[in-house]
């Protein structure tokens, strides 16, 4: 290659480095900026001529210096490349999103590569930093995680009552059942059914029925302890798992809930209606074969409440 060809090749190379759409900069041992390409100029608004020779942390005080030094020092000392991802640190340089209009975040997410640069004497006295804009990937990954979280919630909760849905509630009951078997502690199961719910639906329509279910659910939530698990078991049927609660404690809670509902005036279609609930309680028994036996026991107690006049609490006799 002749000198002029070499010069030309050098020129292309410089042109590419200047215009490539990733950030490139070179720092010396004192963290002074020695090279600064077009990407860095345009996103920071600081031209290379102005910034060269200046200390990185003085020009960009927003950089997390401690963190960056933890990543960069080993590169100097161990002569080994270091990579960081946006998951560790959103970005090194607080640049704006490349899509200021259509983007849904304000700032740029960055992956960073720090590489050692050897001098002609073979000593690593500079490092190069490559800044990748990974906003698109990061945002879609974050949105996906958010969507998955929502899906998980949807899969667990009943949309009308906001309580656990039956499938998820049964899972909770099964694990409580297994825990009781192991620890031989005493937990109780409470079943609740709204009395004459069919009458409400038939007289006032299903949307009124729905609002009754919502209100009863709110009362259930406000009566239960933090550790209890309530769920919507069927149409107007609810169930609560009361871990470490004796029959007596469960009865107290059930009676409190029954009174609350009995005293509440429900606004239905501009009229005020009274609503009552029937409840059944079954304590865990070690001779239950599975959690379904437990449900059956509580259900039998509930059945008894229904058939002895409703609006009452029955405890399953042992």
């Amino acid at each position: 290659m002749t000198i002029s060809e070499e010069f030309k090749a050098m020129h292309w190379l410089m042109d590419i480095v200047q215009n490539i759409d990733v950030g490139l900069l070179v720092l010396n041992r004192e963290y002074e900026i020695e090279a600064w390409n077009g990407f860095m100029e345009n996103h920071s608004g600081l031209m290379a001529e102005r910034i060269k020779g200046k200390n990185l942390f003085e020009v960009f005080p927003e950089i997390d210096k401690k963190w960056f030094l933890e990543k960069a020092e080993p590169v100097f000392l161990l002569d080994n490349r270091a990579f960081t991802t946006w998951e560790q640190h959103t970005n090194l340089f607080h640049f704006k999103n490349y899509h200021p209009i259509t983007g849904i975040v304000d700032h740029m997410y960055q992956n960073i590569t720090i590489s050692p640069l050897k001098s002609v004497r073979g000593v690593t006295d500079q490092i190069s930093i490559i800044v990748y804009d990974v906003t698109t990937v990061a945002v879609s990954k974050l949105l996906l995680a958010e969507a998955n979280q929502k899906l998980e919630k949807l899969a667990q909760f009943d949309s009308l009552s906001g309580l656990n849905n039956r499938r998820h509630w049964e899972e909770l009951l099964e694990s409580e059942f297994l825990r009781c078997k192991r620890s031989e502690t005493s937990s109780s199961l409470l079943f609740i059914d709204i009395d004459d719910f069919k009458v409400i639906n038939d007289n006032f329509g299903h949307s009124c029925g729905d609002s009754v279910i919502r209100e009863v659910s709110n009362h259930i939530r406000s009566c239960q302890r933090e550790t209890d698990h309530s769920g919507r078991y069927g149409g107007e049927e609810f169930a609560i798992i009361l871990p470490d609660a004796s029959v007596q404690q469960a009865s107290n809670m059930a009676e409190r809930l029954r009174k609350k509902i009995e005293q509440q005036l429900f606004e239905i279609n501009g009229t005020q209606q009274r609503i009552t609930i029937s409840l059944g309680i079954a304590e865990f028994k070690s001779d239950f074969n599975n959690y379904v036996d437990w449900i059956d026991a509580a259900d039998q107690a509930l059945y008894k409440s229904k058939h002895s006049g409703k609006n009452r609490v029955t405890v399953k006799e042992t």
Binding site: P74, L77, L78, N80, A82, F83, Q88, N111
Partner: protein, 202 residues
């Protein structure tokens, strides 16, 4: 030459190359953490995905793990390096590096990435030097956090049948800290690796 077989001669040769590279990597980790690293005998094998989980020394199959992987390619050789941590070791490492943050989630990620940078970076440099090739390294990515080891490897199970695997189980002296570095090569890299080994064996 079938890629599914690995003669004793090649295995010894790859093992020797690995010994040198992993020694260099351990040296840097030791200097970084200021500890002694116990160097194991590396395992070089042709493995199927189902065998991979069993081959891992640092992790019990029932324990939850976190892993980072990084792709490399150059001179016809390509593959992925994977660093797998047992989740229970993070706390000990945090004490070792005297981490001053309470955000354990963030700290674990930093430890994972810093160790991956060191071990994978130096190991691949050492490997490349001996084979007289140069590798490009991709951006490392977090493969999974707090997952079961079998779920971790299952992700791409259908994509490969058998692969040349180098497994190194690093342990830190006087602690329970151990991690697994896995180097997995693509099918078509194996023949080129054998050719490179032929030069060394001559």
């Amino acid at each position: 030459m079938s890629t599914t077989e690995l003669s004793e001669e090649y295995r010894d040769c790859f093992q020797e190359i690995t010994n040198v590279a992993m020694g260099q990597a351990a040296d840097k980790l030791a200097r970084f953490l200021d500890v002694f690293i116990i160097l194991p005998v590396p395992n070089v094998n042709m493995l199927e995905p189902s065998e991979l989980a069993m081959a891992l020394g640092a992790v019990n199959r029932s324990e939850s793990v976190s892993a980072v992987c990084q792709g490399f390619i150059g001179s016809g050789i390509a593959g992925e390096a994977m660093l797998i941590f047992n989740d229970s070791t993070f706390q000990e490492i945090a004490q070792l590096i005297k981490a001053d943050t309470d955000d354990s989630n963030k700290l674990e990620l930093e430890i994972l990435m810093d160790t991956a940078n060191l071990l994978i970076g130096t190991f691949l440099t050492g490997l490349a030097e001996q084979l007289e090739v140069r590798f490009s390294l991709g951006q490392p990515s977090v493969l999974g956090r707090h997952v079961n080891i079998e779920d971790l490897i299952k992700i791409n199970e259908h994509r490969w049948k058998q692969t040349l695997t180098i497994e190194i189980n690093y342990k830190i002296e006087g602690s329970n800290i151990s991690c697994d570095l896995l180097i997995l090569f693509t099918d078509d890299s194996v023949n080129i690796l054998k050719q490179k080994a032929d030069y060394l064996l001559e």
